[in-house]
């Protein structure tokens, strides 16, 4: 019986979160607050992927803004074309360009293609990039720096291509979301619900992955890559899979961010934005199932609330909060809370590990 609690406990926690996000939140929050919560959910979706790659896989992915941006811009391009109407072209191309649309925009008129691209583009990009990185056994700080540099390059490229991507201004002024008018509060609520639903779905997927052989291999690769190799597995493939899944999740988060925030611009996908995602994961607890998502929700909420209460000093408060949490609870707030409640067994190791030591117990 105890093992059933252990097995399905996390699933119950996910179900509770689902009820909170999908039933309680819409009935108690104002449309504005609900929309904000939707924005935090987008970051949380990306954070779930980071939890997989970093918490379980040990890969400090500092450039998830790139994949967040791929999804965000893919969706934004579709929404922009939807706003322009059939045959129409986005307003900024008329204002700042020569009034012609680059050919690669054209497929994004199709909603189906856009949805496909939101999953396929980051997967392909991450697969190519990951293959090159992991086969060469690049890891640790080098991997972190490489992914961070990727985010800088991506944002610079966006800023430099005003006529194709809107440059520094980004893409905004969306009116329709797959036929639904975004100015209608009912439809905004629907977009929120889809986002919250996607977050829950990602959590369930990750829960299933953590329990699978892949999940065990991932942790094993993180903790002792050479031993995994001796056992006949290629750690590069394991890492690659986690990296690709994390990229797709970031892209899904970005795709929902565009209609919810009403804008996607380089400052939402650059190096700073990428670090902001990492910060949420670290705060919540990177190796725990719910840690990354709850951390990202908390950071998003904290950012909005602190900046409303203290418009002049909020950045200092947020910074101080991070320092305190990382110093006092290196495994994240959720694990600290869990330990306080006696739900987790006391650990000897300071480093966060999987909820259960891999494979060793049975």
């Amino acid at each position: 019986m105890k093992s059933a609690v252990r097995t399905f406990g996390p699933l119950v926690a996910i179900a509770v979160l689902a009820v909170l996000l999908l039933v309680v939140a819409p009935s108690v929050l104002s449309p504005f607050r609900l929309n904000n919560l939707g924005k935090y959910c987008c970051w949380a979706i990306a954070a779930v992927g980071i939890g997989l790659a970093w918490g379980r896989g040990g890969m400090l992915v500092m450039g998830q803004g790139v994949f967040f941006g791929i999804g965000g811009y893919a969706m934004a391009m579709h929404l922009k074309l939807e706003a322009a109407g059939p045959e129409g072209i986005p307003d900024f191309m008329l204002l700042y360009g020569d009034g012609t649309m680059p050919g690669w925009w054209e497929p994004f008129r199709s909603g189906a293609f856009t949805l496909f691209a939101i999953v396929a583009l980051p997967a392909v990009a991450a697969a190519i990039l990951g293959w090159a990185i992991f086969k060469r056994k690049v890891k640790g700080a080098y991997f972190a720096i490489l992914t961070q540099a990727m985010a800088v390059v991506f944002a610079t490229l966006l800023i430099a291509t005003i006529q194709e991507t809107g440059g520094f201004n980004g893409l905004n002024q969306f009116t329709f979301f797959f036929g639904y008018n975004l100015y209608d509060p009912v439809n905004k609520r629907m977009v929120y619900s889809i986002t919250a639903g996607l977050l829950i779905a990602c959590l369930v997927v990750v829960w299933q992955l953590y329990r699978s052989r892949f999940g065990e291999l991932l942790v094993a690769t993180r903790d002792a890559e050479e031993r995994v190799r001796f056992l006949g597995h290629d750690p590069a493939n394991v890492k690659l899979a986690a990296f690709v899944i994390a990229a797709v999740m970031a892209s899904i988060g970005g795709a929902m961010f565009a209609p919810i925030a009403g804008i996607i611009s380089p400052s939402d996908v650059d190096a700073t934005a990428s670090i902001f995602l990492i910060a949420g994961v670290a705060l919540g607890g990177r190796a725990l199932l719910l840690g990354p998502a709850l951390g990202a929700l908390a950071v998003g909420y904290g950012r909005s609330t602190l900046s409303e209460q203290f418009p002049d000093q909020w950045t200092y408060f947020l910074g101080a909060l991070f320092i305190v949490v990382i110093l006092m609870f290196p495994a994240g707030l959720i694990s600290a809370a869990g330990r306080a409640a006696g739900l987790l067994r006391p650990r000897r190791r300071v480093r966060p590990t999987a909820a259960r030591p891999a494979g060793a117990t049975s």
Binding site: V23, N169, N172, V186, Q208, L231, S265, S267, S307, E308
Partner: protein, 420 residues
């Protein structure tokens, strides 16, 4: 191969996972959308029953733009305090709610929605970058709110819900070109940040230059936050233009000015005319920029009773060493224009205000300004100033009175928006 780990009861766990997903989907379905909606039926929640009226000040007080936008916040604060001391707007005292845009367009969009729907402010004042304005535009339109935007910009925009109190291109860029033509300039070099404003400004400059017979001998862009102008300035040295038209934004100017002087250029050989260096920025350039030019609609040196009062009040409130600049003046003016708009309409309602907006005036520090009811911009006088050794600007040229705003350049036959 390792043995399959006996930890997981796969069939049971799949079932449970499926149950959670099914729960999620069914809960989500409860919130179906409405495909036939006509958009928002935004009802204003502005409370006009009390003794106060709420206004929102939305400027970046953190991030890269804070250094500029804080000056705007200060002059808005001054204007609010002055209006309150003078009896408020329609007898109601201004209660201002401050928010930080954090130099991030997405945050501007979030905060203006919070101000309009959460705090129920009657109008919002702020924004600086075009990115922040573009981000706020759909929100302010969806909620039928009001935004007062105080910075000169690239034009090509007009919204029922925004009042633009800075210059559009025909009140700054085009007059600057007329000044250059009057000076007998024959060759011009364009240097700008890789951003919407410089790109649009240069598109206008190039087309007008052809009309005026001025030759463009070079055009260079550097990313917004990049400080290295060495190679681009080398091209200016080589081209020996009569003038350099500078549309660089923010701190990148410092790197440009440094390279310009280090490579031996000077106001005697190839002077610079800037559209973003004002009293606040001139002393921060790290070089003595005496003799360089700038195009604005206000300088601290403008001689008028209204300006003398403004400078004195500002320096009393924030310190005698603080200069006043064009965006600060435009922000100060925007709050007074709002007061006059409300009093002309005798109402805080957005539709009532727009109805009676045409022709509303204010005796601003820059001179008399008048609102154009069609495009919500204001008629302004264009000025060219030359920097003196006190980092103040001596006005050397001005337009013949206020210029009517023309954000889409409809009155200029040489303008072709779709040209490359």
């Amino acid at each position: 191969m390792i043995e399959r780990l006996p930890l997981v009861h796969h069939s049971r766990s799949r079932l449970a996972a499926g149950a959670v997903l099914a729960l999620t989907v069914s809960l989500g379905l409860a919130a179906c959308g409405n495909k036939d909606s006509e958009g928002s039926s935004a009802k204003s929640c502005v409370d006009t029953s009390g003794d106060t009226i709420k206004l929102g000040f939305l400027n970046s007080t953190s991030g890269a733009m804070a250094i500029s936008e804080q000056t705007v916040r200060d002059s808005l604060t001054l204007a609010a305090e002055e209006i309150n001391a003078d009896g408020g707007i329609l007898g109601k005292e201004i209660e201002f709610v401050e928010e930080d845009g954090a130099s991030d367009p997405a945050i501007f969009a979030e905060k203006i929605e919070k101000l309009l729907t959460g705090d129920c402010v009657a109008a919002v004042f702020g924004g600086w970058t075009s990115a922040s304005r573009k981000a706020m535009l759909p929100v302010v339109e969806a909620n039928n709110g009001l935004l007062f935007y105080p910075v000169q910009y690239e034009g090509l925009e007009a919204s029922e819900n925004i009042y633009y109190t800075g210059a559009t291109t025909n009140q700054q860029i085009i007059p600057a070109m007329e000044f250059l033509a009057d000076e007998g300039v024959e060759t011009l070099f364009l240097a700008g940040s890789d951003y919407v404003f410089p790109r649009t400004a240069n598109k206008i400059i190039k087309q007008y230059a052809e009309e005026l017979g001025i030759e463009i001998v070079g055009e260079e862009y550097v990313p917004l936050d990049d400080d290295d102008w060495t190679t681009q300035v080398a091209k200016i040295v080589e081209a020996e233009p009569d003038f350099v038209f500078n549309t660089i934004n923010g701190s990148s100017n410092v790197g440009f000015i440094k390279a310009y002087y280090e490579q031996g250029l000077s106001p005697e050989t190839s002077p610079i005319i800037s559209v973003s260096i004002a009293e606040e920025e001139a002393p921060a350039m790290g070089k003595d920029v005496t003799g360089q030019y700038a195009a604005w609609n206000y300088f601290q040196s403008v001689e008028s009773p209204a300006n003398a009062t403004f400078i004195e009040a500002f320096q009393d409130r924030f310190g005698s060493e603080r200069p006043t600049s064009d965006p600060m003046e435009a922000a100060y003016t925007s709050l007074y224009l709002y007061k006059n708009l409300v009093e002309a309409a005798d109402s805080f309602d957005v539709d009532d205000i727009n109805e009676s907006a045409d022709g509303v005036t204010f005796e601003a520090p820059e001179g008399l300004v008048t609102i154009d009811g069609d495009n919500h911009h204001i008629a302004k006088t264009a000025l060219i100033g030359r920097i003196n050794s006190d980092n103040q600007f001596d006005v050397v040229w001005s337009s013949d009175g206020p210029i009517e705003p023309d954000p889409f350049l409809e009155g200029y036959s040489w303008w072709d928006a779709s040209a490359e």
